[in-house]
């Protein structure tokens, strides 16, 4: 049973590698249209839904605009956010601090 579990995991690893490989081609699941400025409403929703997956929600007024940029990119890595979600969250935080 234990061996089977690891076989399943290794199959998953291979499948996921293919998915990530495809994403390099920017084909994947990209229904989002690039909005380089970010969207306040989408950002507020992403912020509320995702921050609490791990920690208490931080007050937008805690940091300056530039600090929210680095913090949001850090959280993009940690939470697995897309680039568009990150830009939306930055727009929301910079407009709310």
């Amino acid at each position: 049973m234990k061996t089977n579990l690891f076989k399943v995991y290794k199959t998953g690893l291979a499948s996921l590698t293919v998915i990530v490989g495809l994403s390099f081609l920017n084909t994947g699941f990209a229904e989002e249209k690039a909005d380089t400025k970010g969207d306040f409403a989408r950002g507020a929703k992403t912020w509320v839904e995702n921050c609490v997956r791990c920690h208490n929600v931080r007050d937008p007024k805690e940091l300056r605009d530039d600090q929210w940029i680095t913090t949001s990119f850090h959280m993009r890595i940690r939470a697995g956010l897309t680039g568009q979600q990150t830009r939306d969250v930055i727009k929301f935080l910079q407009s709310s601090n």
């Binding site: 690893l13 890595i77 697995g80």
Partner: protein
């Protein structure tokens, strides 16, 4: 004579008349001079105000430029991190004040393409010495909206606790779950290369992934038994084979539910000797499997995690038998409505190849949130293992944690 007198009178009359006209002219000129003086004074006042305003505008331009530099330079610098202090009273031992740790995190970001992230970890030993280490140091390249490449020493992406929940201001109890501390069942860090990111589905659900290849762990033997698996992020691949692994997560925001599956596979070997003259015996199989979830129904924060590391048998090794580390926990937290108080309960278990280190643990806690990132905690751990001695003693922990 009469004629002369008449001429003189005319002359005098003309002179008087001329003098009167001259006086009038002078008065007129004087008025004009006064008017010019007044205009000159007004001009000087205007010039003075103008000069002052130009100086103010110049100053404002400098300030605006300075602000723009802070707002949108190509390179951004930010210091974040966390720290905690506290008191620990272990059953049958004298309680001690403790400095849990100070972990500044440096962010250096170049445009929206690259970021250097580095977390330093400062601790004070029982002997009072300060120790510093690098928790992680990576350079991240944001290739596109869905992929970031991460290279360097990174926190293990297997599971959630080690990579995301361990900072003291995030962890809702004053200690890590049993088995999720350093060099226990959950891998801590690794040195290598990783791709990670996420996708947003049309249903608003999203999935996130992390895939890595790295040097992997090493084993420490005590006689003919494996005593410990070390996963601090080794700078050398002693077993000659890279470890590959990752985590796949799905998040359902409408249900406030996320689950993740983790896996890794590779080789591992027993390390002996002292730095820098380590030697490694024959390599053997190494596998990791894990699962985690978090769910927030009705304001209750529920999360749980399972992780398992195992190594295979190797007859030529000083410790030939196979073994397995396994740990799990379930945690529930609830913040009372309209207050800053939070109650937490956690149950967990840690199984090791060495039975004396096994722990069954229940932890209860009460927290006060001075702010969302500044938390006072009072936790009580019930630890149980009839073979474990002090390592399984109950503990009271008081902690003040600050995330910045």
């Amino acid at each position: 004579m009469k004629t002369k007198l008449t001429s003189l009178a005319c002359f005098i009359g003309l002179a008087i008349s001329s003098n009167t006209m001259a006086q009038t002219e002078i008065e007129k000129l004087r008025s004009e001079v006064d008017a010019l003086n007044k205009k000159a004074q007004e001009w000087e006042a205007y010039q003075s105000v103008k000069q002052k305003m130009e100086q103010d505008v110049s100053l404002l331009n400098d300030k605006a430029k300075e602000w723009e530099e802070w707002k949108a330079p190509k390179t951004l610098v930010h210091l974040a991190g966390f720290a905690d202090v506290g008191y620990t009273d272990r059953q049958d031992q004298t309680g001690s004040f403790s400095f849990g740790g100070f972990s500044p995190i440096f962010h250096y970001q170049f445009a929206d393409q690259f970021m250097l992230e580095a977390e330093l970890e400062f601790e004070i030993t029982e002997a009072g010495k300060s120790e510093a280490s690098i928790g992680y140091l990576t350079i991240d390249w944001f290739v596109n909206d869905y992929v970031a490449l991460v290279a360097g020493k990174f926190l293990s992406p297997l599971g959630q606790f080690r990579q995301n929940i361990h900072p003291s201001w995030i962890n809702k109890l004053a200690s890590a779950p049993t088995g999720f501390g350093h060099d226990q069942a959950a891998p801590n860090a690794d040195v290598g290369f990783m791709a990670r990111g996420g996708y947003l589905m049309q249903s608003n659900n999203s999935f996130n992934y992390a895939l890595y290849i790295a040097n992997g762990p090493t084993l420490e033997a005590d006689g003919s038994e494996i005593d410990m698996i070390e996963t601090p992020g080794l700078g050398k691949d002693g077993d000659g084979s890279k470890t590959v692994g990752g985590r796949f997560g799905m998040f359902f925001p409408d249900s406030k539910f996320e689950f993740g599956l983790s896996f890794a596979t590779g080789k591992v070997s027993v390390r002996s000797g002292t730095s820098p003259n380590y030697s490694y015996d024959a390599s053997r199989s190494y596998d990791v499997a894990g699962a985690d979830f978090n769910w927030r129904p009705a304001g209750i924060d529920l999360r749980g995690e399972f992780i398992q590391q195992e190594y295979g048998a190797e007859s030529s090794s000083v410790a030939p038998d196979s073994g397995q580390w396994q740990a799990w926990y379930l945690q529930a937290a609830y913040r009372f409505s309209g207050t800053n108080w939070e109650a937490v309960a956690r149950i967990g278990e840690y199984d090791t190849p060495t039975n004396s280190k096994d722990v069954e643990q229940i932890t209860l806690g009460a927290n006060y949130l001075f702010a969302t990132n500044l938390v006072g905690k009072l936790s009580y751990e019930f630890n149980d293992n009839p073979n474990a001695g002090l390592t399984a003693a109950d503990r009271v922990l008081v902690q003040l944690a600050y995330g910045f």
